[in-house]
C-alpha cells in the first residue's frame, strides 16, 4: 500500500485522507454525516444495508461509501437527489419490515430523508419472529433484526472465531440462525456477548436490559459509565460498566480500544454478578 495520502472531492470540496481510507472516511473528514447501519469501525465492511451509498462520478450505480476505497481523483456527491432517494428507500424498507423502536439512532436519518415506512399497504411482510429467551445472559428478538451481519462477523472471523450463528435462508426469508435453530445453550455459543455489543437495533439484548425494559424500568439516560480494567486475567481489557440504580446493567468495551477492539469474553462481559454478591453471583 502506498503511503501517499489521497485527495478526493466530496460535494465539490477537496479532502485529503490517508492511503487506504474509505470514501466514508473521506466524507467524515469533510464534515459530512453519513448514515450507516451495517458498518462498524471494528468489523470488516459487508456493505449490505446500502444506507451509506453515495454518487460516484463515472459510476452507473451508487456505491457504498463504507467499503469503497478512496482513490485519487474520485468525486462523490453525498446529498444528490439519487443519494437521498436510495437512503430514504432503504430506511423506509427497513422500517416497514423490522421493529425499529429501540434503534433511536435511525430517527434523525428517517426525518432527514423523509422516510415513510407506512406507505406499503396494510400488511406488508415483516420479520415475524418469535422472541428467543433461552438463558439468563442475553435474548434474541429477531423482529428487530435488520440483517446487518454484524453479529455473524463478531461471532466469526472478526472477533470470536466461534461461528455459532450464521445467515440462513434466502431473500426475505433470510434470518440469523444457529444450525437447525438449536437453542443457544446447546449451540457453539460461548457467551462472549460480542454479538450483543455490535447489534444496532437491540435485536440482541442483555437479559438485564430486557428484564428492566419489561418492568418499564430501563433508564439509559440516567446510566453512569465507569471505565475500568478487567481483573480476570492479565490481558488488560478495558471495560465500561453501565450502572443504573447502583447496579451494573451492562458491560461494554470501547471499539477503539487497542486490546479489545470492543470485543470481550464471557468473564469480562457477564462475570460481574459477584460485584453484587447474593444468589446470582454464580450465574456464569
Amino acid at each position: 500500500m502506498s503511503e501517499t495520502p489521497v485527495t478526493i472531492t466530496v460535494d465539490g470540496q477537496p479532502v485529503q485522507v490517508p492511503a487506504g481510507s474509505t470514501v466514508l472516511d473521506a466524507c467524515t473528514a469533510a464534515g459530512v454525516d453519513t448514515p450507516t447501519i451495517c458498518y462498524a469501525p471494528n468489523l470488516t465492511p459487508v456493505n449490505v444495508c446500502r444506507v451509506c451509498v453515495v454518487e460516484l462520478e463515472g459510476s452507473r450505480t451508487l456505491v457504498p461509501s463504507c467499503s469503497r476505497r478512496a482513490e485519487a481523483g474520485m468525486a462523490v456527491q453525498t446529498d444528490s437527489e439519487r443519494v437521498r432517494h436510495s437512503r430514504k428507500m432503504v430506511l423506509e424498507f427497513l422500517g416497514s419490515a423490522v421493529e425499529l423502536d429501540q434503534a433511536p439512532q435511525l430517527d434523525p436519518w428517517m426525518a432527514r430523508y423523509g422516510a415513510d415506512p407506512g406507505r406499503y399497504g396494510p400488511a406488508p411482510a415483516t420479520m415475524d419472529e418469535p422472541l428467543r429467551v433461552q438463558d439468563d445472559l442475553y435474548i434474541r428478538d429477531y423482529d428487530r433484526c435488520v440483517l446487518c451481519y454484524k453479529c455473524v462477523e463478531a461471532c466469526g472471523d472478526d472477533a470470536q472465531h466461534t461461528f455459532a450463528i450464521a445467515v440462513a435462508g434466502r431473500g426475505f426469508g433470510a434470518r440469523i440462525r444457529t444450525e437447525f435453530d438449536t437453542a443457544l445453550p446447546e449451540s457453539a455459543c460461548v457467551y462472549c456477548g460480542n454479538c450483543v455489543a455490535v447489534c444496532p437495533t437491540n435485536a440482541l439484548q442483555f437479559k438485564t436490559e430486557f428484564d428492566l425494559r419489561q418492568a418499564a424500568n430501563w433508564r439509559p439516560e440516567e446510566h453512569s459509565v465507569t471505565r475500568t480494567v478487567c481483573s480476570y486475567c492479565g490481558v488488560g481489557c478495558n471495560l465500561e460498566l453501565h450502572v443504573q440504580d447502583e447496579r451494573i446493567v451492562k458491560v461494554t468495551s470501547p471499539s477503539d480500544h487497542e486490546v479489545t477492539n470492543g470485543h470481550l469474553c464471557i468473564k469480562g462481559r457477564f462475570g460481574w454478578a459477584y460485584v453484587h454478591g447474593g444468589a446470582d453471583s454464580d450465574q456464569t
Binding site: 432517494h85 406499503y120 466469526g156 435462508g169 434466502r170 426475505f172 440462525r177 444457529t178 446447546e186
Partner: protein
C-alpha cells in the same frame, strides 16, 4: 482453526458412506492442493477443503432425502466447517431441505414460470399431487421449449427429467450454415471419436500454433461479446486475466443457466459437450490458467452425465491432464453442480457458491479478472461465448467478424418459447429482427394475435407488437431501450392472462433475491406485494422502488428486478394506478 462444536446427532452409516465417497475419496485431478490456501478474509477462508461442501450436501440430500442434523455433523466434522455456516449454506438452495420429508420417494419439481404456466403447469401439479407424488413448485427449469417442464430429484436413484430421451428441439438441425449448433442432432455427443471426426480439437491445435498472444489477439479482433447477458468483450477479459499477477488462475464456465426462458446452454451442452471442453482448454492455454471449473445448474442431469463422460474420455485421450496433446501445457477441468439458486449465475455469487459459501454476490470492484475464484485471476464465461471461440480460431477473426453487424459480430442463439408454432433453439446471424425470429418459429399460436414478447428473460422486458421490427443486436436492443439478455424470446398471444404472468415474474425475483442487500431483499418483496394491491399496482411507488433497486443494490438481480414489471405497466399489459 478453533474446534468445531457439534451437536449430539450422528450420521447413519448410509449417510456417512455417501458423504465420504465425495469428500474422502481421491479428490480428482483438478482439486486444490493443500498448499493453495484461500486467504480472503479470516479463518474460514483458509480451509482448503471447504469447496467440497456443496458436493457433500448433494450427497447427503440424495441419500437421506434431506440435510439431516447427523449428516450435517458428519460433513462439518470431515471438512471442519462450523455447523451454523454449513446450515446457512444448505438453506440457501432450493434442492436441499432441512426438515425430514417423512417419505423416501423421488421429488417431482414442476416449473411454474411463464412458458409452463400458460401451458398448464397448475394442472400437472394437481394431477401429480392427486397421485400422491411429492411435488415441489420450481422456477424455470430451462426446458421452456417443451412445457410443462419437470425435473425428478432422485432419492438414492439418479436425477432425471422425463424428457431426457427426446430429440433436441432444434428445428434448424442439420443446416450446413449453422456454426454453434452444427453438431446438434448430427454428431454423437457421447463419442470423442465422433467429435474429432467432425473437426473437433482442430481449434486447440490452431491455438497452440498461434500461441497465447495470438489467440487473444484473434479474440479481440473478432469483437466477440459475452453471451451470458452482460455483453462484455471476451478478448478484453482474457487479456486482463493473462496479464494479471497471481496464480493459479482459473477458467470458470457459467453453466448455471436459470434466467427464465433460457435453455440454450442445456441444448448446447447435452449435444456438443466436447466443444465446451475444447474451448475451456483453449481459454486455459491462452490465459495461463491451471484449472477449469464447470458450474452446471443442478437441474440439468443429462448435461452432467454427458459432461462427466466427455471429461473422462478427453482425459483418457490426453486432451486433459499433463502435457495436453503432447504440448507442454497442463490443464484439467472439474464439474460442479449448483443446487437451485438463480443468483448463483451472477459471477461472484457463483464463486462463493463454488467455494462452499452462501451464493451471495460480492461487491465489485475488485473484479473477477484479478480477484475471482479463490480470490485468484479468473476468466468466467458463458458456454455459448466459449462455443464461439472455436469458430473464431478455425476461420480467423476477420471471417468471423464479417458475420452479423458492425457492433454485434457472429451468430446468436435464441430460445423461442411460449405461443409459437415451433418452439426451440434457433441460431441466426446478428441483425435478424424480433419479427424474423417469431416467423422462423412458425408464428404466433393460441389466438394468433400477438400480445407481447418477453425479450431477454425475467431480467429483460416485455415488448409489444410494435417491437417486432427491433433488430436483435446489442446496439439495436440498446437503441430500443431493451436488452437481449440471454436470448430469450417468450411469446404471448392475447388470450394469455398477462397480469398472472407479470405477478409471477415479481414472485420469481422475491424468491430468488439472495437477501443480502436491503434494496433488493425488501424491494423485490414490496414490488410483489404491491402488484396485488386491490386498486391495481401504484405505478409511482413501483418506480421509486425500481430506482432504489437499480441505484443501490449490490448486483444485477436487484438492478433488473423491476424492469419487466415496469415494461408491462408501460405497455398496459397490467392495469395500474398512477
Amino acid at each position: 482453526m478453533t474446534d468445531i462444536h457439534l451437536g449430539p446427532d450422528r450420521a447413519t452409516e448410509a449417510e456417512a458412506a455417501a458423504i465420504d465417497a465425495v469428500v474422502g475419496a481421491s479428490l480428482g485431478p483438478a482439486v486444490l492442493t493443500p498448499s493453495e490456501r484461500l486467504v480472503v478474509g479470516g479463518t474460514t477462508r483458509r480451509n482448503e477443503r471447504r469447496h467440497l461442501l456443496l458436493p457433500a450436501l448433494h450427497a447427503l440430500q440424495h441419500t437421506a432425502g434431506w440435510i439431516s442434523p447427523g449428516g450435517l455433523n458428519h460433513i462439518c466434522d470431515t471438512l471442519q466447517v462450523p455447523p451454523a455456516e454449513a446450515y446457512g449454506v444448505a438453506t440457501f438452495y432450493d434442492l436441499f431441505r432441512v426438515d425430514d420429508p417423512g417419505h423416501d420417494r423421488d421429488v417431482l419439481h414442476v416449473c411454474v414460470d411463464p412458458a409452463c404456466r400458460i401451458a398448464g403447469a397448475a394442472d400437472v401439479i394437481a394431477a401429480a399431487r392427486a397421485e400422491g407424488r411429492p411435488v415441489q413448485e420450481s422456477p424455470c427449469l430451462g426446458q421452456c421449449e417443451r412445457p410443462v417442464a419437470c425435473f425428478v430429484q432422485g432419492r438414492g436413484r439418479p436425477d432425471h427429467t422425463p424428457a431426457d430421451g427426446d430429440p433436441p428441439l432444434v428445428p434448424q438441425a442439420g443446416d450446413p450454415t449453422l456454426r454453434l449448433l452444427r453438431r446438434v442432432g448430427v454428431v454423437d455427443p457421447t463419442s470423442l471419436e465422433a467429435y474429432i471426426g467432425s473437426g473437433g480439437y482442430r481449434a486447440l491445435t490452431r491455438a497452440f500454433t498461434l500461441g497465447t498472444e495470438g489467440v487473444i489477439a484473434e479474440l479481440e479482433a473478432s469483437k466477440l461479446m459475452g453471451r451470458g447477458g452482460a455483453a462484455f468483450p471476451t478478448g478484453t477479459k482474457w487479456r486482463a486475466v493473462a496479464n494479471a499477477p497471481g496464480s493459479p488462475k482459473h477458467i470458470v464456465v457459467n453453466a448455471d443457466e436459470s434466467e427464465p426462458g433460457t435453455f440454450k446452454d442445456r441444448i448446447l451442452l447435452e449435444n456438443d459437450p466436447f466443444a465446451l471442453i475444447e474451448a475451456v482448454t483453449i481459454a486455459g492455454f491462452a490465459t495461463g490458467a491451471a484449472r477449469g471449473w464447470i458450474y452446471l445448474r443442478g437441474e440439468y442431469p443429462l448435461v452432467a452425465e454427458r459432461l462427466t463422460g466427455a471429461l473422462a474420455q478427453a482425459r483418457a485421450a490426453g486432451f486433459l491432464g499433463e502435457r495436453i496433446a503432447r504440448s507442454s501445457f497442463n490443464f484439467d477441468i472439474e464439474l460442479r453442480r449448483g443446487a437451485g439458486a438463480y443468483i448463483c449465475g451472477e459471477e461472484t455469487a457463483l464463486f462463493n457458491s463454488l467455494e462452499g459459501f452462501r451464493g451471495e454476490p460480492r461487491q465489485k470492484p475488485p473484479f473477477p479478472v484479478t480477484n475471482g475464484l479463490f480470490d485468484r485471476p479468473t476468466v468466467i464465461n458463458n458456454p455459448e461465448t466459449l462455443a464461439n471461440v472455436l469458430g473464431i480460431l478455425l476461420d480467423g477473426a476477420a471471417t468471423y467478424a464479417a458475420i452479423g453487424t458492425e457492433g454485434s459480430t457472429g451468430t446468436k442463439l435464441f430460445c423461442l418459447s411460449g405461443r409459437v408454432a415451433r418452439p426451440g433453439l434457433y441460431e441466426v446471424p446478428f441483425g435478424a429482427t424480433l419479427g424474423d425470429l417469431v416467423d422462423l418459429a412458425g408464428g404466433v399460436t393460441g389466438s394468433g394475435r400477438l400480445r407481447a414478447v418477453l425479450l431477454g428473460g425475467a431480467a429483460g422486458s416485455f415488448v409489444g407488437p410494435e417491437g417486432l421490427s427491433v433488430p436483435l443486436t446489442f446496439e439495436g436492443a440498446r437503441a430500443a431501450g431493451v436488452s437481449l439478455g440471454s436470448g430469450v424470446v417468450m411469446v404471448f398471444d392475447d388470450s394469455v392472462d398477462m397480469a398472472d404472468v407479470v405477478h409471477r415474474i415479481a414472485d420469481f425475483f422475491r424468491h430468488e433475491s439472495c437477501g443480502q442487500c436491503v434494496p433488493c431483499r425488501v424491494g423485490t418483496t414490496r414490488q410483489h406485494e404491491l402488484l396485488a394491491a386491490p386498486d391495481g399496482p401504484p405505478a409511482g411507488l413501483l418506480e421509486e422502488i425500481d430506482r432504489a433497486m437499480k441505484d443501490a443494490s449490490i448486483c444485477g438481480l436487484g438492478h433488473t428486478a423491476a424492469t419487466a414489471v415496469r415494461s408491462a405497466l408501460a405497455l398496459g399489459l397490467i392495469g395500474g394506478q398512477p
